[in-house]
Symmetry: C2
Subunit: 418 residues, 2 copies
């Protein structure tokens, strides 16, 4: 299993409260300076042990100031013999990394192997959703028993009301809006879906996971024919770095999307089109100009943010010096990348394996145990409004580009999740 959101080697430096100063403090809390406390003197054995403790000794010898405040003061202050042993341990730990990488590769292969074993199940699911296969009586009874446990008993009351609907719906094939409904129940994914998006996502007929030879995974969104785009499927591919992260997991390298072949600008869900009439001053001819603005849309998921390459970063730094702005930009990019990887994992680890439970909402019962999902939020409408305000402000440079199809590719000013 890969790390959910960690990315590259962006590690936060330890803060004064959590590192050595306080450590050597608690490590040494029984040895107030400058003399050995009386409670310790009472116990000869302990006394000897404490004197054998190099950090305590160095404290006793008045070296406190050389330790506290420096980053790993207590390590630096240790005598060479002990430091050498620490170096030895560090080298020894390095030999673990190879084993850990081997383990992760075997784990990935194990995941692939079980993914293969799952395929017939997912293919059958697809056929039921599309209506090309009906479940057997046994399956229906089993599922009913399983779902019965999850439901209240008030069901029968509604039977009468339903029969009217039944009549109208007797020819409906499969389970309409299956994937859209499942996605609408998974908070962080639902937040990406606009009203316009959901019309297009009604044509989503399957979402599946694929592995490939390189390190990573691929999400394939299969669509039936629709009025928005001509693609039969939209694909998002996530790549891992070759080197494992410090916690022995794969770390994301980058993601790749795909070109969506929108039928026309009016059906391109990632832009808004404003039509204006313009009269040529000389010819007096009137022509219509389309002003395209990048807007929030789930379909921006297929134009993922790209991490800055280390070299690029260096170059940029050399050129300009307004580093505060840059850092802010980097922070925003960091957040976008993190969200993009998170959404990928939600599809891979939650939505695809438990789609029926996301459709019914049953899977939600298991969401709030873990704390990390606390940001789940349903006020999409609100955040969308906020969003457009933002876009008018800081990031409107691109939005005047007339008839610029490229605008569709520009990322909206900020992601809704913020």
């Amino acid at each position: 299993m890969s790390e959910p959101i960690k990315k590259g080697n962006i590690a936060q430096a330890p803060t004064p409260q959590n590192t050595p100063a306080s450590v050597s403090g608690s490590y040494l809390k029984n040895a107030p300076l400058p003399t050995i406390p009386s409670t310790i003197k009472e116990d000869d054995e302990l006394h000897k042990k404490l004197l054998a403790n190099p950090a305590i000794l160095s404290m006793i010898e008045g070296k406190l100031n050389t330790l506290v405040g420096t980053d790993s003061g207590y390590v630096k202050a240790l005598p060479p013999k002990i430091k050498n042993r620490l170096y030895g341990l560090k080298a020894l730990q390095q030999t673990q990394f190879k084993l850990e990488a081997e383990f992760q590769m075997e784990l990935l292969n194990l995941e692939k192997k079980y993914h293969e074993k799952h395929l017939p199940i997912f293919q059958k699911r697809k056929r039921i959703v599309l209506g090309s296969l009906e479940p057997t009586t046994e399956e229906i009874e089993e599922g009913q028993a399983l779902m019965g446990e999850e439901e209240d008993e008030e069901e029968e009351e509604q039977d009468e009301a339903k029969s009217e609907i039944d009549e109208t719906l007797k020819d409906v094939k499969g389970i309409p809006s299956f994937w859209l409904t499942a996605m609408e129940n998974l908070g962080p994914i639902a937040e990406l879906i606009t009203d316009r998006d959901s019309e297009a996502l009604n044509h989503l007929i399957d979402i599946r996971l694929e592995y490939f030879d390189a390190l990573g995974f691929r999400l394939v969104f299969e669509f039936e024919e629709n009025e928005y785009f001509t693609n039969k499927q939209l694909v998002k591919t996530y790549y891992y770095q070759k080197e494992l992260g410090y916690s022995r997991d794969f770390v994301y390298d980058h993601a790749e999307g795909c070109d969506i072949k929108w039928k026309d600008n009016d059906h391109n869900l990632t832009i808004s089109v404003e039509k204006r009439k313009q009269r040529n001053k000389h010819t007096k001819q009137v022509r219509t100009i389309e002003k395209l603005t990048a807007v929030d849309s789930f379909f921006n998921f297929f134009t993922p943010p790209q991490p800055t390459k280390p070299e690029e970063e260096e170059e940029e730094k050399d050129e300009e010096e307004d580093s505060e702005e840059e850092e802010e930009e980097e922070g925003a990019l960091e957040e976008k990348l993190q969200l993009d990887y998170e959404i990928g994992e939600l599809f891979k680890d939650k939505l695809i394996p438990r789609a029926i439970d996301w459709f019914t909402g049953y899977a939600l019962e298991y969401e709030y145990d873990e704390g990390e999902e606390e940001e789940f939020d349903d006020d999409e409408e609100d955040s969308e409004e906020e969003e457009s305000d933002d876009a008018d402000g800081s990031d409107s440079d691109d939005s005047d580009a007339d008839e610029d199809a490229g605008a569709a590719k520009a990322q909206p000013a900020e992601c809704k999740q913020q």
Copy 2:
């Protein structure tokens, strides 16, 4: 890898904001009642699709009230044919569970296999920590190069100061206080360690992970001879449930500790001893009474909280009706269990594999990426004081038990983490 803290089937019920009402809302947000909106009428194809959508249809037919407010209203309101397909999918999902359990068993075996491969490395580490093996020149140089990257360059300044210490320490064997220092750097573990504990933990010479035939793992804390207890090792064993959790991971069943054979009450770190003189009214003889009170201590880790068994819970509920208090108690137990499992995972997944980096503090740089560790906190002293206030208040029933060695086994009123 097992789930960090989830336990049993304690699932939080979905709240009105995140479940069906809002779902059917967004699912249907393009179909205001009671007529089909004009924007949709414009597109015949879309119109047809929307009519094929059973939820929209049922809305149009005025069934809104039967849907909103009920827990999975939109599912219940679906016509039998579609519900049957949902049942079919539910039954189909059930067939995944067997595969998922197989996968987790293979994963556990993979972890065991790689644990075996790691053993020589950890055994060598132990010997270096104890001083029975010195690292080679190559290892020292490699480790130095590795650590050099992590350190500042200010090192040389301190060389002079160190040489004095060196003289005093030339006979020190191994790396004194290695495990204690590593533990002191790992926040949630450090919070459990009191001043008195750290004296005993100076005698901790190895921590290692062991697997066994059942589902779970074992943490073995090896001690050199010391003045506190006679055990050569203290063991904590974690057991997983046979059934996987909803997220396809093992779920903790319970943990078992071990009896610590304290040399005497004064050295028992899990109790505080207050000596009082008492004169017999009749014989006028004076005798000393020891009042024992359970106190916070890392060593309570070996007397883990026990989950309530489902049957017990039932019985209790039948007997007494003051359910509010009970719920509070259950909540406190839940938190204790969660912390106990979390601490076990920290030893297993973080401290043991990266002990040298926890000793130096380097591992801390990787802690703050993940958000979950935000509670890291160093004001142990403070929280301890709060703690004793608490103990005086609500939970003092047991604390008067004179000469009751069993008091050592009683859990302190509350865990420090709260």
